[in-house]
Symmetry: C2
Subunit: 159 residues, 2 copies
DNA sequence: TATTGTTATACTCTATAACTATA
DNA sequence: TATAGTTATAGAGTATAACAATA
């Protein structure tokens, strides 16, 4: 992965200018770096961040409606349908159509889903621990607080 | 965009548990929120964040090599080829094959590219200003510092 | 009529490998 | 042989609109 000599000698000198002051740009750059860590950790498994978050939230909220899940995770309904179909096909999730509203779908983990979640839970939670991503504990706490403010600003300011 | 009444009455009660303590998950959630702001601001234009960053970096670094650009922005070479082709097709960028190494490609803005950049420069830089994203100036500075640490940890720790 | 979720379509981004032309 | 960039292909995510079943 690291060449013995830098392949692009110029790489150092690239000037990003004011881009490093753009929250949007820097969020993307940081996300790429942090996801790299994720995929290194979960190499040779079939665990993907989006899928795993979905399993997690279903586990925390039994009989969650599919639409509610989609809104919570900012996933479009059409995409959520495919994501859930995949999880059902893998035997991790089951769909329940409740008699009180037969348009809707409620989701729950299967036994296999629960086992899958438990197997990877601890790795998932600790991939991005402070030392792993090169921050101190205090910095990580600070960062999480700021990200929560950004991510949940609409919801929290409205009630 | 906002229904007069919450469409999913349950939405409040969804519990994300330890997910809100995962740097990776929260980076994604924050990015979605912040990009929403971007697309609201640039609605009805053809400006996209990735494309615009590329134009920006080319402007800051004349005669940048395409591969160097790709590595800097964490864009895969194959994707960079298509991205540049689009920018060339739009008349914003020109490709120069230097005689000293005719395998490589150096990039520069056209006049149209410079005009395009200047027209949107200020909007682009200020979409994510503190007040726009619901943070104080101090918080934004703090956030940017932490994101830079994450994004550039490999490069900065190696020299 | 409105809502829930699905299907269909299209475009972007990512990932990989095979290819070309140069070196 | 190795490198720079391209092409081709496939998968995942995103966005939109049209649709069926149900309310």
């Amino acid at each position: 992965m690291n060449a013995p000599f830098p392949t692009g000698v110029e790489d150092d000198s690239v000037d990003l200018g004011a881009l490093t002051g753009s929250v949007g740009f820097m969020l993307r750059m940081a996300q790429v770096a942090v996801y790299d860590q994720f995929f290194r950790e979960f190499a040779n498994t079939d665990v993907r961040p989006g899928e795993f978050s979905v399993l997690w939230v279903i586990a925390m909220n039994p009989d969650l409606r599919q639409g509610t899940l989609a809104r919570t995770l900012n996933i479009k309904p059409a995409h959520m349908t495919k994501l859930v179909q995949r999880l059902v096909r893998e035997g991790l999730v089951k769909r329940i159509v409740p008699p009180e509203d037969r348009r809707s779908v409620r989701l729950a983990l299967t036994d296999k889903g629960r086992i899958h979640l438990n197997r990877h839970r601890s790795t998932f939670l600790h991939v991005h621990d402070a030392e792993r991503i090169g921050l101190t504990d205090a910095e990580t706490t600070q960062l999480l607080g700021l990200l929560q403010k950004l991510a949940f600003k609409d919801t929290s300011s409205c009630r």
